[in-house]
C-alpha cells in the first residue's frame, strides 16, 4: 500500500486526466475511502497496449473548504466515479457537469436526499413531453427508473436513475469476517455474473495471501467464465428477439441457453455457478466425463445456434429493427469510457482477456471481436461471434484437463498493509475489484466496479433520436446490470 505514489490533488488530477487522453488508456476504477480523518483517493488507470496499470493516490482533508476541480470536466469517463465521491463524502466539485446522486447509498453524506426526490433534468416546453418508466418494469427484471424527454415519438434525452438495488454490499465485505461469507457476497454482486465477480474476488484473496492458483482452479474459472458469457449472450439474443416480437428467435435462443446453464448445474449443482469458485480450493473437480459431456453439448449447440442466427439475419423485417438503431458512436464510447461488448461494438478494442490477461487467458493470445457500427445489430453480432470464440476456447481447453489437486491446500492468511487489484473480462465487460488489508490482514476496504458503472451512460446516449418504442430493444442490446451498479 505504501508503494502507491501519493500526490497532491492538483498533480493527481493532472496525471490521470493526461493519461486518459493517451490512446489505449482508460480508467478501470477511481474511488475513495476514509483514512485517519481524511479521504484517500485511489485512481487505477489501465494501459491496454503496454498491458500495465498505473495506480496513484491523493489524500484529501475531509470535506475540504474548497471546491475541487473535477476529473470529469477534463474527461467524461470519470463522471460516475466522481458522483459517487460526491454522494458518499460530500466532496464538492467546482466544474462537474452532472453532480447528481448516483445510487442513494445508505452511507451517503446527505441523508435528506431521498431516491423519490431525484433532481431530473427538465425542459420547459409546450411541445415536448416527459415519459417516466419504472422503477418496477413490465417484465421480470431489476428495478431502475428511466425518464425520457420526447418530441412526439422521438427520444431527445434519457436520464437513468438508479440506486433501487442498493444493498450496501461493499461494507459487508468488512463486517462479514469469514472467507466463505465474503465469497457468497461476491457471488451475489450480480447473480448473472457469478463466475466473473467471484473470479475477481478469489484472484484478490489469493494474491493477498501469496497463494498461487492451481492449474485446476484456473481451468475451472476460465471454463465457468466462457460458459457464463455464452449463456448470457444466448439469453440476450432471446430477449432481443422478444422485444421485436420475433417469437421463433425468442423461443429457440431461450431454449438454447438451457443446456448451457444445465451443464453448470450438472458440474456444480447450480445453474448460475454459485458454489463453484472458491479461493484456495475447488469443490467440484472437472472430470474427463464432464469434459466429454461438454464437448458433445457444444457439438449439439453449435449447428442449432448458427442456423437460428442465420435465419434471423436473413429476415428483412427483423433486420429493419436492428440496423442503425441505438447507435453509440466510437467518439461517444471513447469519451464516456465504455467497456466490454458495448465498447467493442463501437470500434474500441478493449478486452481484459487480451490487455491484462490472467489464468488460462495469459496463454491464449486472445484477439477481441470488434464491430464498428455501434448499433443494436453490432451488439447482436458481437454476441454471435463471441459465442463462437468461446466455444473455440472451451474446446481447446478441454483437450488438456488439468489433474486434480488433492488434498486441497489450506489457504494462507492475507498479508497486512497490501493493496490488490483484479481485472476480469466478464460477459458484459471489465470487472474491477480492489482490496486493501489493514495491519492485521483483515479488509480495510473493498471496492467493486461492475462494467455497468461505465456503460449505463452509453445506453442513455445511444437511444437519443430513436423512437421511444425502440427503447426496450436498445436497453436489452446493452443488457446492463442494475445490482452490479447499485452494489
Amino acid at each position: 500500500m505504501g508503494d502507491i505514489p501519493e500526490l497532491n490533488y492538483g498533480d493527481f488530477l493532472h496525471l490521470n486526466t493526461q493519461l486518459v487522453l493517451q490512446q489505449g488508456n482508460h480508467c478501470v476504477n477511481y474511488y475513495g475511502f476514509p483514512a485517519a480523518g481524511k479521504i484517500k483517493l485511489i485512481c487505477c488507470m489501465a494501459d491496454d497496449s503496454a498491458h500495465t496499470l498505473k495506480i496513484s493516490s491523493a489524500l484529501l482533508a475531509e470535506v475540504g473548504p474548497d471546491r475541487l476541480s473535477s476529473f470529469t470536466a477534463r474527461h467524461l469517463s470519470f463522471h460516475a466515479f466522481e458522483r459517487e465521491l460526491h454522494e458518499v463524502f460530500a466532496i464538492e466539485y467546482a466544474d462537474h457537469p452532472w453532480l447528481k446522486p448516483l445510487r442513494y447509498a445508505f452511507n451517503r453524506k446527505h441523508q435528506q436526499n431521498r431516491i423519490e426526490n431525484y433532481p431530473f433534468y427538465r425542459i420547459d416546453s409546450e411541445e415536448l413531453h416527459e415519459v417516466g418508466v419504472g422503477p418496477v418494469h413490465a417484465g421480470v427484471i431489476e428495478p431502475g427508473h428511466f425518464r425520457f424527454i420526447c418530441s412526439g415519438e422521438q427520444i431527445l434525452h434519457l436520464e437513468t436513475q438508479l440506486g433501487y438495488q442498493h444493498r450496501g454490499i461493499e461494507p459487508l465485505f468488512l463486517s462479514k469476517k469469514n472467507l466463505l461469507q465474503q465469497t457468497i457476497l461476491a457471488e451475489s454482486i450480480a447473480g448473472d455474473t457469478v463466475a466473473g465477480h467471484t473470479t475477481a474476488f478469489v484472484n484478490i484473496r489469493e494474491s493477498l495471501s501469496g497463494d498461487i492458483p492451481a492449474d485446476e482452479w484456473s481451468f475451472a474459472r476460465a471454463i465457468a467464465l466462457e460458459m457464463e458469457r455464452m449463456a448470457n449472450h444466448t439469453g440476450g439474443l432471446s430477449a432481443i428477439c422478444a422485444d421485436i416480437g420475433y417469437q421463433l428467435g425468442a423461443a429457440v435462443f431461450g431454449r438454447l441457453r438451457s443446456p448451457l446453464i444445465n451443464f453448470m448445474q450438472q458440474w456444480c449443482g447450480n445453474r448460475f455457478s454459485k458454489g463453484l469458485i472458491r479461493a484456495g480450493k475447488n469443490n467440484f473437480p472437472f472430470t474427463g466425463e464432464l469434459g466429454a459431456k461438454l464437448g458433445s453439448l457444444l457439438d449439439a449447440f453449435e449447428p442449432d445456434f448458427t442456423e437460428m442466427f442465420q435465419t434471423m439475419k436473413s429476415l428483412p423485417t427483423v433486420m429493419a429493427r436492428l440496423e442503425k438503431t441505438g447507435v453509440l458512436t466510437r467518439e461517444q464510447a471513447e469519451s464516456i469510457g465504455a467497456v466490454g461488448m458495448a465498447a467493442r461494438s463501437s470500434g474500441i478494442n478493449r478486452d481484459i482477456r487480451s490487455s491484462h490477461p490472467s489464468g488460462l487467458y495469459a496463454q491464449l493470445n486472445h484477439q477481441a471481436v470488434v464491430k464498428h457500427h455501434g448499433d443494436v445489430y453490432s451488439r447482436i453480432r458481437i454476441r454471435y461471434d463471441e459465442i463462437h470464440q468461446s466455444m473455440g476456447y472451451i474446446r481447446q481447453w478441454l483437450r488438456e484437463i488439468p489433474l486434480r489437486v488433492t488434498p486441497d491446500p489450506i489457504i494462507q492468511k492475507p498479508a497486512p498493509g497490501l493493496f490488490s487489484i483484479s481485472l476480469v473480462e466478464g460477459w458484459r465487460g471489465e470487472i474491477c475489484h480492489c482490496g486493501i488489508t489493514d495491519k492485521n490482514g483483515a479488509w480495510m476496504h473493498y471496492k467493486i466496479k461492475d462494467p455497468s458503472m461505465n456503460n449505463w451512460l452509453a445506453m442513455a446516449l445511444a437511444v437519443r433520436n430513436n423512437e421511444i418504442s425502440d427503447f426496450p430493444l436498445c436497453n436489452k442490446s446493452f443488457d446492463l446490470s442494475y445490482c452490479g451498479h447499485d452494489l
Binding site: 421480470v140 444493498r167 466463505l180 454482486i189 447450480n270 435465419t311
Partner: protein
C-alpha cells in the same frame, strides 16, 4: 416458413412433461437430509455463512440457507443435500429441516386461505417485484415461462401491470430504496391477493441479513402465502410450489 419449420424440428421436444418427476443431477442441492450422527455442532453453526444452521436439535433453516453446500463438504456423514427440488411451503417453520427427519416439504392445505383455491385455481396472474435481488432469481422466474418449463400451461403467468395481477412475487432482500415502490405495487393489486417470497434473500435477507441498506418492514405487515427457498429458486421448485398453493399440485 419452411426454414422456420426446419428450425422447429431441429429443436426436438423441449418441454418437460411431468414437472413433478424430473431427475436433477446428483450435484444439485435440494432439500437436505441430516443424519443423527453426533458432530461438533458449534463448528458447523460457525461454518454456515448465513446462520442457517442451529444446534440442539441440529437444524437447517432453508429460508436462510444459500445452498452453498459447504456444510455437506465438511461433514458428508451428517448432511446430505438430496435432489428433491420440491421445497416450497406456506408455513415458515416448514422450512426447518431437523436431524433424523427425511420427509418432503409440503404446502399445508389446511393453512391455505379459502379465496386462493376458490379464485386462483384456474388462472393465476403474478406481478414480480425485484427488491434488491441479484438477477439470478429473476432470471429463473423468467425461465419458468420458457419452452422447457412452460408454466403457462397451468394458467400461471407473470403480467406487466399490478392491476392485472392476483399477487406479488418478491425477490431480493428488500432494499431501503425499493421499500416504497414495493408497497405501491402491492397496493395497486386488487383484492384478494397473495404474496410469494422467492429465494433465500427474500425470505430471510440471506447473506444480506442485517445490512443497514435494507428495509424489510413490508414483510412484517402481511401474511406470506408461499415461501420458495433457493439461491436462486429453481423453476421446478417455484412452479410446483405455486401449483400446490392453488390446489393443483399432485
Amino acid at each position: 416458413m419452411i426454414d422456420d419449420l426446419r428450425i422447429l424440428i431441429h429443436q426436438g421436444r423441449q418441454y418437460i412433461g411431468d414437472i413433478t418427476a424430473v431427475k436433477l443431477p446428483e450435484s444439485f442441492r435440494g432439500r437436505p437430509v441430516i443424519s443423527q450422527i453426533p458432530v461438533n455442532g458449534p463448528e458447523l453453526v460457525e461454518l454456515c455463512p448465513t446462520g442457517a444452521i442451529s444446534n440442539e436439535p441440529f437444524t437447517i433453516d432453508l429460508g436462510k440457507c444459500v445452498f452453498c453446500g459447504e456444510c455437506a463438504f465438511a461433514r458428508p456423514d451428517k448432511i446430505r443435500f438430496t435432489q428433491d427440488y420440491r421445497m416450497a411451503t406456506n408455513v415458515r417453520d416448514g422450512l426447518l429441516v431437523k436431524e433424523g427427519e427425511d420427509r418432503p416439504i409440503q404446502v399445508n392445505a389446511a393453512g391455505i386461505r379459502k379465496e386462493i383455491t376458490r379464485f386462483f385455481r384456474g388462472s393465476l396472474k403474478l406481478r414480480q417485484v425485484c427488491a434488491g435481488g441479484d438477477n439470478s432469481c429473476e432470471t429463473e422466474l423468467n425461465a419458468c415461462s420458457n419452452v422447457n418449463f412452460d408454466m403457462g400451461r397451468f394458467g400461471i403467468e407473470f403480467v406487466a401491470s399490478p392491476r392485472h395481477a392476483d399477487g406479488i412475487v418478491i425477490t431480493g432482500p428488500v432494499s431501503e430504496n425499493m421499500a416504497d415502490p414495493l408497497q405501491l405495487t402491492y397496493d395497486a393489486i386488487p383484492d384478494p391477493k397473495i404474496i410469494i417470497l422467492a429465494g433465500s434473500e427474500a425470505i430471510s435477507g440471506g447473506i444480506f441479513a442485517g445490512s443497514p441498506a435494507l428495509n424489510r418492514s413490508f414483510l412484517d405487515k402481511y401474511r406470506i402465502d408461499l415461501f420458495v427457498p433457493g439461491n436462486p429458486v429453481h423453476p421446478l421448485t417455484f412452479i410446483n410450489g405455486v401449483l400446490a398453493l392453488i390446489g393443483k399440485g399432485k
